[in-house]
Symmetry: C2
Subunit: 557 residues, 2 copies
């Protein structure tokens, strides 16, 4: 039996099997890449999940039989293709292993509960039998969030059957949604009712509501709609003792906010089964425009001013000088009238002392009612004018919107060519912003060596600071891909934590960031989190090895 995954996702890369990504100007783009990385060697991958070398399921046969009785015959799989597919996420390390057909620590069974009660029954069974459980939504984790850890048998819980938008409360502008609902399946019925959640992470098409909540996700439009932390009104969480259901109220002063203990818990405190999400009216108007700033540092100042002026852009993105350069290399070279227009544009920019290839492009988008968009645009325009910012018109905004979910596809193209590519991200306060950006960039360059590209952008802004999102490329170290990546990742993460950045702004912790948690949260914060985990999950079965710093293992414990 093969489960639903084949309808959902390429096992070896991003998206669905029939999706491909076309680089608009491949010649120019690959020349840009070759000039920096040199020649690289194309890589092949194993042909099918059937070719994987997987150890046998460690789950005892009577347990499998009991699981089938609980959840239904077709809802339990120990099939090796299913187990392979459900054992990893979509991080660089995951893709390298999937392409090599060797995933290491495979899960021992995949179970697809039909409803919340079946999730609860499964967790109780797992607690009794000391089986680890891993909730699996869209499986797009890039931090090892769905990967089995440790020696004991592991059950992966496929949340795909909890896929209903249960209710839309038009008065309160909230929707009651099951955790397994995927992004597009959430937005479709809402749009028919004139609403949107406004949560569009890059993984939107392939990630689930439960995954967003579990990872404290931030969408591309979070500056207007809020991160998922602000969008969750209430939540239901299954764990072996029962169902925790938080009160369904707009705000309360009734102790610590349990919702915010569950948001970001990454499956370590239970399985999110359902949530009430806050909605906004669908935008009737939209305005996305591009601007050219002399530098990333100058751009960050402009972003800060806009954020502190009391307007809420739907999107505010600033590319550093390198990402600006690469974005221009990636786009289709203009021809005909567009080429003529661009020549005029470049001449105009030069007169302002700006150069497209050495500046920093900003995209600023507003959405909402026509009146709100008009007002916000005017406030922003005054700031931009005062700072002498040059407009690039609406084509950069259009280009961004067109390709907003496609960057992960490009990663597969790089992997085919033997190029390591990954992203990492953080956030910090404005005073530290440009300094931290340089520190991480320099750390990455140092770890990657001469033949590399390191670029960054700002994608989520707040009044007190913003996120920084890095993409880095280098020729793969054949045979030592994982070690190469581990070394680079460690160097960059050291720089983030030492530099006062968030350990993650929106990718979450999982396995990959876990060993920095102690430094990041401090001794007391780590102890709190560990103790909360231990008291809620004394058996230690809930997504073990993720998120929670292991104080016993730590030399400073």
């Amino acid at each position: 039996m093969v489960m639903q995954f084949d309808k959902r996702s390429k096992w070896w890369g991003w998206g669905k099997e029939d999706e491909t990504y076309n680089i608009p100007d491949p010649d120019g783009f690959w020349k840009y890449v070759r000039d920096r990385l040199g020649e690289t060697r194309s890589r092949s991958r194993v042909k099918s999940l059937g070719d994987f070398k997987l150890r046998r399921s460690r789950l005892p046969k009577p347990d499998i039989a009991e699981l089938r009785q609980m959840s239904g015959e077709g809802a339990v799989s120990t099939d090796s293709e299913d187990r392979a597919f459900f054992s990893l996420g979509k991080g660089y390390k995951d893709l390298v292993r999937m392409r090599g057909g060797d995933i290491g620590n495979a899960t021992d069974a995949v179970v697809q509960p039909g409803d919340e009660q079946q999730v609860l029954a499964l967790l109780r069974f797992a607690a009794r039998r000391q089986l680890a459980v891993i909730p699996f939504g869209g499986g797009t984790s890039v931090v090892g969030g769905v990967e089995p850890v440790g020696d004991g048998p592991t059950i992966t819980i496929d949340m795909a059957a909890l896929n209903q938008v249960l209710e839309i409360d038009r008065e309160a502008a909230t929707a009651t949604v099951q955790a397994g609902v995927m992004g597009p399946d959430l937005e479709r019925p809402l749009r028919r009712s004139g609403f949107t959640v406004g949560h569009f992470p890059q993984s939107f098409q392939y990630s689930s509501v439960g995954g967003w909540i579990a990872t404290r996700s931030a969408g591309q439009n979070s500056t207007k709609y809020g991160t998922i932390a602000a969008l969750v009104q209430s939540v239901r969480l299954a764990h072996p003792k029962g169902i925790l259901s938080t009160p369904n109220v707009p705000a309360a002063a009734a102790g610590p906010d349990l919702v915010q203990t569950i948001v970001g818990s990454e499956g370590t405190l239970g399985v999110i089964t359902q949530a009430n999400l806050r909605l906004s009216a669908m935008s009737e108007h939209r305005s996305y425009k591009g601007y050219l700033l002399p530098s990333f540092a100058a751009g960050a100042q402009v972003v800060r001013e806009i954020m502190q002026a009391g307007v809420e852009p739907a999107m505010l993105r600033l590319y550093d000088e390198i990402e600006t350069e690469l974005s221009l290399a990636l786009r289709a070279a203009p021809t005909g009238a567009a080429a003529a227009a661009e020549r005029v544009g470049r001449w105009y920019l030069q007169r302002k002392g700006l150069d497209l290839e050495s500046g920093s492009i900003m995209i600023l988008g507003f959405e909402g009612s026509e009146a709100n968009v008009r007002h916000s645009s005017e406030v922003a325009k005054r700031i931009l004018k005062r700072q002498g910012v040059a407009s690039l018109g609406s084509s950069p905004g259009r280009a961004w919107r067109r390709s907003r979910f496609s960057a992960p596809h490009l990663r597969d193209v790089f992997l085919d060519k033997g190029i390591m590519v990954d992203t990492l991200e953080t956030s910090t306060t404005w005073g530290n912003y440009v300094t931290l950006h340089s520190k991480i960039r320099d750390a990455l360059r140092g770890a990657l060596g001469e033949r590399s590209i390191v670029m960054a952008h700002l994608s989520h802004s707040y009044t007190d600071g913003a996120s920084i999102y890095y993409t880095f490329l280098a020729p793969q170290d054949e045979g030592g891909e994982i070690e190469q990546w581990e070394r680079v990742k460690a160097t960059a993460t050291d720089a983030i934590v030492a530099g006062g950045g968030a350990l993650s702004h929106h990718h979450a912790i999982g396995i990959e960031h876990r060993r920095w948690m102690r430094d990041y949260l401090g001794d007391e914060g780590s102890r709190w989190l560990s103790q909360i985990k231990r008291t809620i999950d004394p058996e230690g079965i809930l997504n073990p090895g993720k998120l929670i710093p292991d104080l016993e293992d730590s030399p400073r414990a």
Copy 2:
């Protein structure tokens, strides 16, 4: 030795000794009250804190000596006046007991640590000796948050010495503030730098930053600036094991939000010593206007529409029909030109089918840059026009701003006259709003009897719902004041919880709401909170008897 309290506050009521509250039109007002409550008998109070009958401090002499050594001779008091003052907050029950000179369970010592390290040392000492500790900021709790509970010796920690605004980060628009800073002492230096926190609870003048955070406070302008939960960027918390300091970043996806575990923890998980608060630019423009709606229900619909239109009022308040009537009775009767203007106004309202005394008054305020205020006002105006709402001009807004902090003074006046007066509050989603308002009102009326006034207003709005805030009055049951109040409070709180409202929107839980926590949070939520408490405070010394549902005591445990 007498500690700082005498400079800070009336022990028997609200505010400072030299403050009095003058009712603009006392004859009209008292007639209104008499018509509804009948004659009541004036009550006297004990003359001074020295007249209190207090049991001796239960703290052993060697402990007192050790405390003096740790915190300084003058920072430890077992003086009975100090102990009396620091043993209660400012709830109705507290004032009744203070006025009677019999406070019951007095604290055993008041200690005023000079800095965070002294707080930590004190907590470690208390943990070793099994002494309960109660953090005390401004002491304005109306839910018993600072009252000793249980048989063991208790130390009240006066946070008054941690009173510094340590740093203003102009770039990030944040301020680093010690927990004992009182409202006005926080805003004064910020204003000089062009900033405001924008947090103005009714207790603003007499409450502290640490108290706001500990009680998950919401200010009168929270609709624009956010409740304290959104204003805290990071926080430092002392507890016996050490100092928990959360990372100083604008946003992160690094597990559960520990800040939101500390916000609302009411001293049960430790003592908040310091926080980074988010600031806004001081408002350059302000517009507060009054409107008349045909009913509270119609008004709630208008509030909902404004909140869902994507604008953020600085203040949006809607009085129900009774509170509208009483507000009009409370104001100075207009004379001369103002009286003539009001006659014209009433004629105009009548033509619209509205009557001032039987309608529902709304106050809508915008603050910020001139452009933002203008835009928001226009969006709101379109909604108000579509709903046929009548404007009352800017005098209701002015009147509200003038007396925004004075309602608690009026309570003292009522108590002098032998009238029980208290407030309680909740929040709910829009679909349940009017229904819950009626249920609580009817419950209060039923419990209070014929001779009573029950009124309510909406004061904090969200896209998904709003708060409801009740004020109720009735003749005091002489000799049975506490029992009378307990009965009324229980009936109303039962109605709130059964009706799906928040157990508290911004008063917090303390002693008074604690026994409903189990019903409110559900079995699992209660168990979580209790377990978190137990794991963080195994000695059970941190503000015991507050907030945390006691599962062992509960019949359903």
